[in-house]
């Protein structure tokens, strides 16, 4: 047939090839648009959640409440009470002129800290009272996930409230009591009422502490103290330093023997 010349066939082939190219180009455009849309959506999701986590982490924000050390009534009367003061995140207990300074990083939920206190707590107290050492307690909280009711940070808040309202002796008594009766990991720690009860036994006034314990007034200060520990290169509790040098419990025990 005359229609089916080689030229016609060639035209037809070209048309078919062009149509295919167009289809392929359209398909590629659709694919790129889809990928672009999905990537944009994912980037948006990451940005939003990232923004939320950044907002959730208040680390480093200025705390509304900073604890202080209440004047010890015994210091006025007899003048021989153990001195204590707050220096940054360190709670300094004992004679500032003491020959050695022992720094102890502790979490109130940490079982290894409770072991250290059980083994050396009495000797530490005696050495403080004898003016041989000054202890720089760095209390912090990173073990909230070890209890079902954020015991670690609530207990530390309560301890700081006692320090702030009742002074260093009550702080020491409450600190030792919390370690001697440390709640096991995995369950609920003491609730606020029990913390208040124990704080009162240690020498605090319920009327002065209840609101601050229930409101967790030092929460931000505790977060910052915990972050500072991490920045100090301390990844564990208890971490002991003697005159600024890392030490193990054995070295502390030897120091206390002297």
């Amino acid at each position: 047939m005359a229609r089916n010349t080689p030229e016609k066939r060639e035209q037809r082939r070209q048309r078919a090839a062009e149509a295919l190219k167009e289809r392929q180009a359209a398909e590629r455009r659709r694919k790129m648009l889809t990928i672009g849309g999905v990537v944009a959506a994912l980037v948006a999701i990451v940005a939003i959640i990232f923004g939320i986590t950044q907002a959730m982490d208040t680390t480093g924000e200025t705390p509304d409440n900073v604890p202080s050390v209440a004047e010890d009534p015994a210091a006025d009367a007899e003048g021989d009470a153990v001195p204590g003061k707050l220096d940054g995140y360190g709670i300094l207990v004992g004679d500032p002129e003491a020959a050695r300074t022992v720094t102890i990083y502790e979490d109130l939920q940490c079982p290894a800290c409770a072991n250290l206190e059980a083994e050396l707590g009495d000797e530490i107290s005696e050495a403080i009272d004898a003016g041989e050492i000054q202890v720089d307690y760095r209390l912090l909280s990173f073990l909230d996930r070890a209890s079902t009711n954020d015991y670690s940070s609530r207990a530390l808040n309560a301890l700081l409230v006692v320090l702030d309202t009742a002074g260093i002796d009550a702080f020491r008594a409450f600190h030792d009591d919390l370690y001697a009766n440390q709640p096991a990991e995995g369950g609920p720690g003491f609730d606020d009422d029990e913390l208040i009860e124990r704080a009162v036994e240690a020498g605090a006034e319920e009327s002065e502490i209840r609101a601050d314990i229930e409101d967790k007034v030092y929460e931000q200060w505790i977060k910052n103290a915990t972050d500072q520990m991490s920045k100090d290169g301390v990844n564990s509790t208890p971490t002991i330093r003697i005159d600024g040098e890392d030490a193990d419990p054995q070295q502390l025990a030897e120091l206390l023997q002297q």
């Binding site: 047939m1 229609r3 089916n4 016609k8 066939r9 037809r12 082939r13 048309r15 078919a16 090839a17 149509a19 295919l20 289809r23 392929q24 398909e27 590629r28 694919k31 889809t34 990928i35 999905v38 990537v39 994912l42 999701i45 990451v46 959640i49 990232f50 986590t53 950044q54 959730m56 982490d57 680390t59 290894a112 990173f142 996930r145 977060k223 915990t226 972050d227 991490s230 920045k231 290169g233 990844n235 564990s236 509790t237």
Partner: protein, 192 residues
């Protein structure tokens, strides 16, 4: 069969990312400390990395589980596993005693030294699964198949189309060297 292996690789790797990220999301401050404990990154970027990592993990995990952008997500996943393996190996080599922080937590761990080999082995296994998906991203029940069709690259896919049959000349009996429909469908219309 290989499509099923791909599905398994996606679910295992994606599932691990999802869990690891989700456990870290509620406590960003802890995630920052876990990153800092490795002592590898400058302090200026530690908080950003600590905040971003759990989010990225969750998104990679979700995408792998549902099969979205499987190849690029697997590349990211493999790169992250390489970074984690390097980080853990480096902590081990420097004698650091830290929890890897892989599933939240972080910081000191007295048993760290005995855990490092196992953690590295786990990450190597997950790296292998990620690499499988990089090489062969196609798998069963993937969202990618819905969005982009069953084939990886549409440009090399000579699927039959309507255009040929609407061509008035295509039914000519005397087609000479022009291929029949059946052959076109098989070999592509540009075949001569």
């Amino acid at each position: 069969m290989k499509d099923w292996i791909g599905l398994l690789a996606r679910l295992v790797t994606g599932g691990v990312w999802l869990v690891a990220g989700a456990l870290k999301l509620p406590d960003p401050a802890s995630s920052v400390r876990a990153v800092r404990a490795y002592d590898l990154l400058p302090e200026a970027i530690v908080p950003t990395v600590g905040h971003l990592l759990p989010v990225v993990e969750v998104v990679i995990g979700l995408c792998l589980v549902v099969g979205l952008l499987v190849r690029p997500m697997s590349v990211l996943s493999a790169l992250l596993f390489v970074a984690f393996i390097v980080g853990i190996a480096s902590a081990w080599a420097r004698g650091l005693q830290i929890d890897c922080g892989c599933f939240g937590g972080g910081g000191y761990d007295a048993d760290a030294t005995s855990k490092y080999p196992w953690e590295i082995a786990r990450d190597v296994g997950l790296l292998a699964l990620s690499l499988w998906l990089v090489v062969r991203p196609r798998s069963r029940w993937a969202l990618d198949s819905l969005l982009f069709g069953p084939r990886e690259d549409i440009a090399t896919d000579p699927r039959p189309t309507d255009a040929d049959s609407t061509d008035p000349d295509s039914n000519d009996a005397d087609t000479g060297p022009v291929l029949t429909h059946a052959e076109r469908n098989h070999d592509g219309p540009e075949h001569s």
